[in-house]
């Protein structure tokens, strides 16, 4: 199946969960990442039970804390 991950279309095996994709894509600090799947926001706790399907559009949103000191 095809997924659009971070703006790029790529081929993945069927039956992939969001948790597996996070591992495949080597997402940094995955437990603190928010995923956007077709415009819905999911926290890490929901990754395991989220089954991806052909055509899903995914983005990963990271905590970014710097800027002050």
């Amino acid at each position: 199946m095809k997924l659009i991950v971070k703006g790029e279309e790529k081929e993945y095996k069927e039956g992939l969960t969001l948790a597996q994709l996070v591992e495949l894509e080597k997402i940094e600090t995955p437990q603190y990442v928010t995923a956007s799947v077709n415009d819905e926001l999911l926290s890490a706790g929901e990754f395991e039970k989220t089954l991806l399907k052909d055509g899903d559009v995914l983005e990963f949103l990271y905590f970014m804390g710097g800027g002050g000191l």
Binding site: L41, G65, G66, G67, L69
Partner: protein, 269 residues
């Protein structure tokens, strides 16, 4: 209020613009923006807003200028070492543009003082470096119905989003709770390239200027990310409304401001 000849010349490149003109420049001169954090993000934001003639600029920061700040915090100079950042920032801003009134708040923002701080401002810029402050600013702005610009920078990366009450999601819609202390690297531990603050802080200033002018499209409903190594900007669409957001959702559960455990970055000193 008529422009003086000096103002006509100072703001000529603004007044020429169709989107600004006389009315827009007057809006900027009557505008009030609060910058929380006089560091990597706040420095360029403060300088551009002062130069633009934003009439009242508040700047809040509890720290003093340290040598390790000067690689990126261009509002401060070597001569300012040891000086309160808000004072150093005020001096630079007034040198750039004496038209501007700079209010300084030499303090950490906290649940006790933030509502009072933001009360009189039209737009808030979050230039803080830690998650407790970022969540506090978000919650306070949502509750007080104040628009603000969130941003973060680390290594060669930066991101920002703009919250406008009723127009799109807040920071907490995207990130439900602050990460545990030290769970996510901050710029003190991970480093940051100096120009990153310049780019992202200037974008925050641009959002404030657009908001005051009432022109263009703000970064509401989007998170803009910048990867300097790949030299890519990505504008990631966010849901327009997050029903279960604990602060701006349909049934908010957060009704009071809280101070989360203090600053990820602070532990190191």
């Amino acid at each position: 209020m008529a422009f003086s000849n000096e103002q006509i010349e100072r703001y000529s490149r603004h007044i020429i613009l169709k989107e600004v003109g006389v009315k827009g420049q007057k809006r900027l001169l009557n505008g009030k923006v609060l910058i929380i954090g006089a560091g990597g993000l706040g420095a360029p934001a403060a300088m551009y807003l002062a130069a633009a003639g934003v009439g009242t600029i508040g700047i809040a920061d509890a720290d003093e200028v340290d040598l390790s700040n000067l690689q990126r915090q261009i509002i401060h100079s070597t001569k300012d070492l040891g000086k309160a950042k808000v004072i150093s920032a005020k001096e630079t801003m007034e040198e750039i543009n004496p038209d501007v009134t700079v209010n300084t708040y030499h303090t950490f923002v906290s649940a006790d003082n933030i509502s009072e701080l933001i009360k009189d401002y039209d737009f808030i810029i979050d230039g803080t470096d830690n998650f407790p402050a970022k969540f506090l600013i978000n919650d306070a702005c949502v509750m007080a119905k104040k628009p603000f610009s969130h941003a973060g920078i680390i290594r060669f990366q930066g991101q920002l989003m703009t919250y406008v009450p009723g127009e799109g999601p807040c920071y907490r819609c995207v990130f439900k709770n602050p990460p545990p202390k030290d769970a996510v690297p901050t710029c003190r531990q991970a480093g940051v390239i100096g120009a990153m603050g310049g780019i992202i802080g200037s974008l925050q200033a641009m959002e404030a200027v657009k908001y005051l002018l009432g022109v263009g499209e703000l970064l509401t409903g989007y998170l803009l990310t910048y990867d300097a190594l790949k030299m890519t900007f990505r504008k990631i669409k966010l849901p327009k409304h997050v029903a279960d957001c604990p602060v701006c959702g349909d049934n908010p559960t957060i009704h009071e401001l809280v101070d989360y455990e203090q600053a990820e970055c602070d532990g190191a000193f």
